[in-house]
């Protein structure tokens, strides 16, 4: 198992390097020049100096090497300094955003909490809805509940989140006025009242994302439970006179969760991608909004870094899913 984990981690590194190459060079082709952000009143020689200080005149492989070094070495050092108060990274150049001329990672650190609260809650709620639905649909296969669950799942992944989001806004904020349609990022949760406010502004985006996630997870859960219900051990358990409750929740559930857990792990990074749209609908000032803003402003370092972070998440969670599978299912032994 340990050798397997080590080998998987070692193969992940060249994959990530290749992805970083693809992302860096693709984004680097962008036609917009960083000079377009500098006001025209700035004299030409000053403009040239600004561009030089931004490092855009270097050949592309130099910039790639520098960016990669900053991403994997300088920025983690900065993070370490931030937590432990050390000064390892002092004086080292960080990835600088064209838009704000401040380190890209400072902006990302500011944006992460918004994305995490909304997406994290949505994913948890989605799982909590999906698992019972999946179990009960499988237990009563072809019942009206199962049919309704199938329909719900089909609608869940057919209706795009930007439509469900807008639909909920029209119904609940415009017509009924129950929830705000715009997420207020500056709200601080201090007391009961501000907590309620936070819960109300999170309600709509979380509902949209939770329904979307619940749709596919409930399908996986259903088919996994169905697979297990036909197994011999279920018949044995029933023959021994165990209650249906024990059979279903004690025996079947534990076994059918194995594939579902890996599916859940695999779904986490794609949520970040999907959240780009939801963040845009509800004006949540998170990572997705930062990416869209950076794309419109031609802020190449920001786009490269964010996209690469998304890619790192995907590769990491693929790794986690593989390892989880091996840990959870003793029948699977990697050599």
């Amino acid at each position: 198992m340990l050798t397997f984990i080590l080998r998987r981690i070692l193969t992940a590194i060249p994959t990530l390097l290749l992805i970083s190459l693809v992302i860096f060079f693709l984004v680097d082709l962008a036609p917009g020049s960083p000079a377009s952000e500098i006001p025209l009143t700035v004299p030409a020689e000053v403009r040239a100096k600004i561009l030089e200080s931004m490092g855009v005149n270097d050949p592309v492989y130099v910039r790639y090497g520098l960016w990669l070094k900053q991403f994997v070495w300088v920025e983690p050092l900065n993070l370490f300094d931030h937590f432990f108060g050390t000064t390892f990274a002092e004086g080292q150049q960080r990835i600088i955003s064209y838009q704000t001329r401040s380190p890209v990672f400072d902006m990302i650190v500011q944006r992460i909490p918004q994305t995490m609260t909304v997406i994290g809650t949505a994913y948890l709620i989605g799982i909590m809805i999906a698992l019972p639905i999946g179990i009960y649909s499988a237990y009563r296969q072809y019942s009206w509940f199962d049919q309704a669950g199938t329909f719900f799942a089909m609608v869940g992944f057919s209706v795009p989140t930007f439509f469900t989001g807008v639909l909920l806004i029209v119904i609940f904020s415009v017509k009924l006025g129950w929830f705000p349609s715009i997420y207020d990022t500056t709200l601080k949760v201090e007391d009961w009242e501000s907590f309620l406010k936070q819960a109300r502004q999170m309600a709509l985006p979380v509902t949209v994302l939770a329904l979307f996630n619940a749709a596919s997870i409930s399908r996986y859960m259903r088919s996994s439970v169905l697979d297990n219900l036909g197994q011999d051990y279920v018949r044995t358990a029933r023959a021994k006179g165990m209650s249906e409750r024990t059979v279903l929740l004690g025996h079947v559930l534990r076994n059918s969760l194995i594939p579902v857990v890996t599916v859940i792990a695999l779904g986490i990074p794609s949520i970040f991608g999907g959240a780009i749209i939801t963040e845009q609908v509800f004006k949540v000032n998170g990572l997705g909004a930062a990416l869209i803003g950076a794309i419109h402003a031609n802020d190449l370092p920001m786009v490269q870094t964010l996209t690469f972070i998304f890619a790192t998440l995907i590769v990491t969670f693929n790794l986690i899913a593989d390892i989880l599978y091996g840990i959870l299912d003793p029948r699977i032994r990697y050599v």
Binding site: P160, I295, V315
Partner: protein
């Protein structure tokens, strides 16, 4: 009375596709999906012939902006006084065309990669690593980046409308072929060991002809299912791009673009958000149901029952 001398009726040998169709019609969801999709297609394709937009002068358009639905404008007019019904028809044409063309590109790439990887052992490793690499790319951000990068360049060469169209279908196509490649590879790996392929090989058929005549016709079922699902996915992706403001130019409507434009007027005119949104959702939902039905109908293990 029937003629006693008539030859006993021999049941005609049944065509495989007849069987598939019979199985398909037992899937209720697929039939409903087919009907809904048919209605939507008729609306989009035949609608423009039946509904003639009045030619209005600019002054008239300004007078007629933001009108509620009426006999003259069944879906009202938009903020520039354009007939919303007409825009919905045009938007649907583009959305569905994007879905179809992107599906073709993605299926072509996926089948090619899948067949090559499955058939030639030497290519299997590299091609599957490539597929894995594509699967670990963050697709939506990359699509956004690609559209941002090449939109203006292509628009300059091919014209703003056709250029954006080509860019969007290509971008969607090359970011969605991985699933079908994996499915096809699996099928080909199994088919390659079957006797008829061995027979074809043993009489000296060159690999190219083995692939085209013996392997490809047998992978058609999974490819068809993947194709339907790809259409749905492509329509959603295009609408998402339009919704993020990185799709087609404003005067070139698609359902996603109309939805995006409608969001600014959502409070006063919610129907401008609802109609395109419903159209997208219904199309995708019915295509997904058709795909579900096709999967059952094309599966020989289910078909007999």
């Amino acid at each position: 009375m029937s003629d006693p001398l008539a030859a006993p009726t021999i049941e005609k040998p049944r065509n495989q596709w007849r069987d598939v169709w019979d199985q398909f019609t037992t899937h209720k969801g697929a039939l409903v999906g087919m009907t809904v999709l048919g209605v939507l297609l008729a609306f989009v394709l035949l609608g423009p012939f039946l509904w003639h937009e009045e030619t209005l002068t600019t002054t008239e358009k300004i007078m007629l902006k933001n009108k509620p639905p009426s006999a003259r404008f069944p879906m009202g007019t938009d903020q520039l006084g354009r007939d919303f019904l007409k825009r919905m028809m045009q938007g649907g044409q583009v959305s569905i065309a994007v879905g179809l063309v992107a599906m073709m590109i993605s299926i072509f790439l996926g089948t090619t990669v899948g067949v090559l990887a499955g058939f030639f052992r030497r290519l299997d490793g590299p091609l599957m690593r490539l597929t894995d690499l594509f699967l670990s790319l963050p697709l939506l951000p990359l699509l956004l980046v690609m559209v941002m990068l090449f939109r203006d360049a292509l628009a300059g060469v091919l014209g703003p409308e056709f250029g954006t169209f080509m860019l969007i279908v290509t971008a969607i196509g090359i970011t969605s072929w991985m699933q079908s490649a994996r499915v096809v590879r699996g099928e080909v790996l199994a088919l390659k060991e079957r006797e008829f392929v061995l027979a074809a090989r043993s009489i000296g058929t060159p690999p190219r002809r083995v692939i085209l005549r013996h392997v490809l016709p047998n992978v058609i079922s999974p490819v068809m299912v993947a194709a339907t699902l790809n259409i749905a996915e492509a329509i959603i992706t295009e609408s998402a791009l339009s919704f993020l403001g990185l799709g087609f130019p404003p005067d070139f409507p698609t359902w996603g673009r109309l939805l995006y434009d409608g969001v600014s007027y959502m409070q006063q005119y919610p129907e401008r958000v609802m109609l395109p949104g419903l159209a997208i959702s219904l199309t995708v939902l019915s295509v997904n149901y058709i795909g579900d039905g096709l999967r059952d109908a094309l599966d020989p293990r289910i078909r007999g029952r």
